[in-house]
Amino acid sequence: MNNFYPVNDYGPLMPGLVMAGVAIVHVFLAQFAVGGGLLLCYFQWLAMTGRSETARIFVNGYFRILVLISFVLGALTGVGIWFTSIQVSAPTIGQMVFNFHWVWATEWTFFCLEVVAGYCFYRYHTQLSDRTNLTLLILYAFAAWMSLFWINGILSWQLTPGDWLASRSLIDGFLNPGFWPSLLFRTIVCMTLASLIGCIVVNVIPSLDRTQRQELINRAAHLMIPMLAMPVLGVWYLLTMPDDSRGWVLGGSPAMMLFFMISVGASLAIGSYALIGLWMQKLYINGATATLLLFMAFGATAGGEFVREGSRKPYTIRHVMYSNGIRPDEVADLRIRGCVTDDPYPVVHEKDLPNDTVTVGAKVFRKQCAVCHTIDGSNAVVHLTASWDEDQMRMNIAKLQQTKPFMPPFAGTAQELESLVQYILWVESGRPSSWAQGMNPETVSQISRWLDEAGTEPAEARSIR
């Protein structure tokens, strides 16, 4: 039963959407936790050096928010991301864990430090000296940032594995080409989020008057100044991306470009407001505006994460694994052996399917398509292929990596491909109770020829050659 995992049907939701939902929320909260630590260190320092007595009130209020949001939601959505990844693509997360389990274990030791330092501050800060409090906050912030450091190496490796592909060295994989720009960019995002949430907190602390609020808001805005470096870091990151991935983001894929522009636009708006309004003109910002800016930051995070996930296509781990969990070096073998020949799992509601051909097609769909598509829900195959005639559908799927370069090559036999076509047509026809059984040998031969013409390599590899 090796290499076969059951695949769940989430109705109209494609698994990728479920993953995106959990991932975006977690990334947002985790980045807030990292930035929050840095902001608290800054404000504790302001308070203890006499630069701002009001900052002390803020530190106490803000840390409570940080604990309630980050320690609870942040920690649990982190576990949730692991569970969701398993649901969506068990082979992908399995490969990541296998390659980087000691990195993850190292990150875990920093989680432990983060929790202990955080709770020590949370529980005892009123009984401790300023200096001790600052020490605890620095340790908390350090541990939180280090957790970003470790996970960033794993995530950036997925898109830019770099020399790891040849050397299989952990260091090469971890310090991959995308590592540093991604780490620095994310650090700035963390500081920005913490700063915006800080502005909201300042507005809800009842004991502060308007002057004190304005002072704290302007201080909090200092953490947004590094946003000035974002364009440079963004360009650096884009330059480290593979050519084809960068191509999707910069116009090759309308959806990806749209999300990229949302992310850039929202960041630009927040940055401009922070720099011109809060830092240079020392403007006041009320809770509603701060919340609005935070929503924009959420949009920017969501857009950025969508682009990061999407630009890896057709891979989940570049040159190692396709989105559907199939490895590039397995495709040639699966073209001969078949991708569902050894699949032990029946199709749910199999009795509702009209014949064996359609049943095999449903299994092929489950194995190769279901991670990114539904049959007739969101990103539905039936809708995407609606304008194709039968032969066109056969050819386009057989030459899938050429039809759409962000798709992986079809990894199955000609018979399986024909079964998939029959399954799609059967659903498109309203799932009738009877459907023609059997396959035309000439059709299968033609599909075989198309498969041979397309080859087993992804489009990017062929274009490079």
Binding site: L68, F71, L76, V103, V115, T132, L139, Y345, V348
Partner: protein, 379 residues
């Protein structure tokens, strides 16, 4: 399986098993505190029978030392349990990737729901800790405490279901088709009951330490009782918890034996053969030490520190033995050659030295944090 667990296995497999079991024990200890603690809180909220002896009249159980400590520490304990759970969750993916992932996917939403349930329970724990709750009606407080305990019981149920499903590879296609995740209700019930009752001794031991600490912090009880009464109350509570722990541990051992009887013949013979017999002996002898210690604690008026240390040590030995036996059961039902192969390949991946270096560094920093707090310099 003719090798003794884990030292009889090949190096990489033995190594990952040891790391997994040790990290699991830490997680189980904290998880046990949370589960048994929330059940204890629910019990005293539903049955707040008062005890005579307060300067302000009778003190309801919800204001007794144990309930106070639990309300105060459960959020942190849950945070600790979740954080400690990350490490075994990582190593299980090296050891039993196919089994763990398949069970996860087969349970689908029914598995994923543990996350929102835990989030809800987490926030409810903070509400139970807050001062505002004392203004709420008894009905709401009862509802909250039952909801929290019920949430943790539900998570325990999900984990047990997941674990048992992961062991039974031949049933996976059927489970996928029918959606029926529970193959044997008696096995599920017995295993779940074994773990639930087994959580009380762990909670009891940690609580005993906390009660000892509370004796010296007079500021924590000034509002409800005189010093003498409160000290008496703490000692009574310590003995009551020792009694509950004792009863629960004996129940857990009986339930574990019943669960043993439901296991396939091959698994039973491995447990009583070379692989497991030593661990059974360790489990029983550590249980013996705990029983003796808990009885002495129950009889004692002041509580013996040396016996508490012995019981604490025995508890960790007992948990390690139980976790080891759990792995022998799993390895018997898994494809052992595949597990050997995957751990061998995983051992060739670099990073272990880095992990050890940062473990030492961060353990030092954690100790430093605790030292800072213990010093408690005046502001």
């Amino acid at each position: 399986m003719n090798q003794m667990f884990p030292i009889g296995f090949e190096g990489p497999l033995a190594f990952y098993l040891v790391v997994y079991v040790l990290t699991l024990v830490v997680h189980v200890f904290l998880m046990a505190y949370v589960l048994a603690g929330s059940l204890w809180l629910a019990w005293v909220t539903v049955f707040p029978k008062a005890t005579a002896g307060s300067i302000h009249g009778e003190i309801p159980r919800t204001k007794h030392p144990a309930a106070r400590i639990l309300r105060d520490w459960l959020p942190f304990a849950l945070s600790g349990a979740i954080t400690a759970g990350v490490a075994p969750l990582l190593f299980i993916q090296i050891l039993y990737q196919q089994q763990f992932y398949t069970a996860n996917v087969l349970l689908g939403w029914r598995w994923m729901v543990v996350i929102p349930v835990l989030v809800m329970a987490f926030y409810l724990l903070y509400i139970m800790k807050s001062k505002i709750i004392s203004q709420w009606s008894l009905g709401i407080r009862i509802g909250l405490s039952i909801c929290v305990a019920g949430s943790f019981l539900f998570v325990a149920f999900c984990w047990t279901t997941n674990h048992l499903l992961s062991l039974n590879a031949s049933q996976w296609p059927v489970a996928y088709e029918t959606g029926d995740a529970v193959q044997s209700l008696p096995a599920l019930s017995l295993r779940l009951a074994t773990w639930i009752t087994g959580t009380f001794p762990a909670m009891g031991v940690l609580m005993s330490w906390q009660l000892r600490g509370m004796k010296s912090r007079t500021d924590s009880w000034r509002d409800v009782a005189s010093d003498v009464n409160w000290l008496t109350l703490i000692e009574d509570e310590d003995r009551r918890i020792a009694w509950v722990s004792l009863a629960a541990m004996i129940a857990s051992l009986i339930l574990a034996f019943c669960y043993f009887l439901t296991l396939p013949e091959e698994v039973r013979s491995n447990l009583t053969g070379t692989a497991g017999i030593l661990w059974i002996a360790v489990l029983l002898s550590s249980s013996g030490v705990m029983i003796t210690g808990l009885i002495r604690q129950r009889r004692s008026h002041t509580g013996s520190k040396s016996w508490l240390i012995a019981v604490t040590g025995a508890l960790f030995v007992q948990l390690t033995a139980a976790a080891s036996l759990r792995e022998i059961i799993r390895l018997t039902q898994a494809d052992l050659s595949a597990v050997v192969q995957s751990t061998k390949a995983a051992a060739e991946i670099g990073g272990l030295v880095m992990f050890l270096v940062f473990t030492v560094l961060n353990a030092g920093l954690i100790a430093f944090c605790l030292w800072l707090v213990r010093r408690k310099q005046a502001p």
